[in-house]
């Protein structure tokens, strides 16, 4: 065999919801009407909580904030498929995932107000702290997945990352480890086309991000990231496979960041507004709304009332977030190690003497 093909690979893309909300009935995930409605509600809640964060930031009540606008389906579709025992490793733009898991929105806000306590995960959940160092946290997911296999726990480790994160060495090392040990790990990549000002094309010459799985001998799939049902379905399948010993998957959700990178960014410096217009037509909320409408599940007249209820829950979260006492200087020391060194004890005393 002088010049023979010895390996071939295909990358699939999954879409379920059409632009007008029409669906391929065969692909429709096995969900009840109330679950479809809940998915929509989570999409709306994510958007409302996000808008609210941007307002709070403008008023100086939150620090720099990364908006999820446009990416709600990628977040909610995947987050909705998670089981409570699964471990989640968020990047910094997964508001929708936190909401799917019932993480207190007030805590989420507190974190973005500059308070570590916002990341104190409730005991019934396993959400790792928000990860700022892009792409580095997939390895922690690999570690937890390895631990779970050792303990024979049926959980899946689910790291989230962006298109930019796929360029980091740690991303690759993690997926390669996941392949070697056939770990229960499902990596959800929100390809929102931008890493701050660097476009998806400039991030890698790979035609899809899903094909990065090929390098590690694991599965990769692309989904329409603005199609909450496709994201849900792909995530569910991958989770099930992982749970049953079938190994890891990389899911690329193709979507678009409709906002600035963060409140500290001004995307007009580098992005053609025409791009936003194109993606506007694929708005994930609208598509899901049309789907519900076509099934008689969405009634225009009820929308306002429902949104009001969601808004109220967001308001309550803001109140709760802002009612928290400020953190104590001792906290800096308490959480560095389990015990203070003699020098740290000295330092804590100095700090508490109020010399700030």
């Amino acid at each position: 065999m002088p010049r023979a093909t010895i390996a071939s690979f295909q990358i699939e893309r999954l879409e379920i919801l059409g632009p007008q909300g029409e669906v391929d009935a065969e692909l429709l995930p096995d969900l009840s009407d109330s679950q479809f409605l809940r998915l929509y509600e989570l999409l709306v809640l994510t958007r409302l909580a996000d808008e609210r964060a941007l307002n709070l930031q403008r008023e100086g009540r939150l620090g720099t904030f990364p908006s999820s606008l446009g990416q709600e389906a990628a977040q909610v579709g995947s987050g909705f498929a998670l089981k409570s025992q699964d471990w989640v490793f968020p990047s910094f733009r997964e508001l929708g995932v936190f909401l799917c898991l019932d993480y207190p929105l007030s805590s989420y806000y507190r974190y973005w107000a500059g308070d570590e306590r916002g990341l104190l995960c409730p005991p019934e959940l396993n959400i790792f702290p928000i990860n700022i160092a892009v792409g580095t946290h997939l390895l922690h997911a690999a570690g937890v997945a390895l631990g779970a296999r050792y303990r024979q726990e049926m959980l899946v480790a689910v790291p989230y990352l962006g298109d930019g994160g796929t360029s980091k060495g740690d991303f690759y090392e993690a997926l390669n480890m996941a392949g070697v040990y056939q770990l229960p790990l499902v990596a959800i990549c929100q390809n929102n086309q931008w890493a701050i000002s660097v476009s998806r094309q400039h991030q890698t010459a790979a035609q899809t991000l899903a094909q990065k799985a090929v390098a590690c001998g694991i599965r990769g799939i692309q989904v329409d990231g603005n199609d909450v049902l496709a994201v849900y379905q792909a995530t569910r399948e991958a989770l099930e496979r992982a749970r049953n010993g079938g190994g890891p998957t990389l899911i690329e959700c193709e979507t678009c960041r409709m906002s600035d990178h963060t409140t500290a960014d001004d995307a007009r410096r580098y992005r053609d507004p025409a791009e936003l217009e194109r993606w506007q037509a694929r708005d994930p909320l609208l598509r899901m709304q049309r789907f519900l409408e076509s099934r008689g599940l969405w009634v225009a007249s009820e929308q306002a009332e429902r949104e009001a209820a969601l808004k109220q829950s967001v308001d309550e979260a803001v109140v709760a977030a802002e009612a928290v006492e400020p953190p104590q200087v001792a906290d800096m020391f308490t959480y560095t190690c389990a015990e203070l060194s003699s020098r740290q004890r000295q330092q804590l005393k100095e700090a508490e003497d109020g010399r700030t």
């Binding site: 620090g63 700022i132 980091k168 890493a195 400039h202 991030q203 740290q344 700090a351």
Partner: protein, 320 residues
Amino acid sequence: MAVLNLVQAINQGLQQALAEDDRVLVFGEDVAANGGVFRVTENLHQEFGEKRVFDTPLAESGIVGMAVGLAAYGLRPVAEIQFVGFTYAAMDQIYTHAARIRARSRGRFTCPLVIRSPYGGGIKAPELHEASCEAFFCHMPGIKVVVPSTPQNAKGLLLAAIADPDPVIYLEPTRLYRLLKEEVPEEPYLTPLGKARIAREGERVTILAWGSMLEVVLRAAADYDVEIVDLQTLSPFDRETILASVRKTGRVLIVQEAPKTCGFGAELAATIAEEEIMSLKAPIRRVTGYDVVAPLPLLENYNLPSLERIRAALDDLLRY
């Protein structure tokens, strides 16, 4: 002379280096169309084009490793790491390669590379965006470390770093970016590496500081008769100037934003305790960040050296 802030002074330095020497290339995450997240590279991409000023994929080890190759090839890469807290991923490339290429190749290949990075706290930024980790680089033979403290020395030190035949880490105190403004000469000039600057003359205490701490120290010590030494270059540091000041004052206060233990201030104290102890009238005091995981914005003020802590240390020293 125009009045510039630190961002503008560095931007002007980069612009002039690019204009003067076609070996200079500027790259990193978001440095091109976006002009850098702090706008330090603003307009450079527009002026010099994609070949001279370009964006990279999000990969810090990659950025530095590529810069090592470019430098060894004979160019003058000026790489940006978006925040110094993300250089940890590039430590291997910095220490294993940038620092060693000259030695490993016995001088056949060299590494005239500059890594610029926003550095330090006080801006209420997210986690890892306020790191003060200069000491790591100061413990790497083969690497030079420069920290400007004013628009004037920012420009001169940058141009000296770019002209230097060896790798230089150039740390930009973000808190000063838009805080300080002063007249900056229009033409290119070099502020020599390895030389400290007496920011204020005085008699009773020598205060050693660098970067954004200098600004704090100047305020804190306004009413004290102290000599304030701005290190400018941390590695190699200016032993002679420091020791001469210590001989004069006999008292030393070191102010550093980084965690205390094994910070760069420790080296300064150790050097003085080794070479000039006989001039000392008092212990060598350090006012530093605490030995804690760097806090998020709500707690950060507790951790940064404050006017009060600096004054308390001065008062204490003056009791000897």
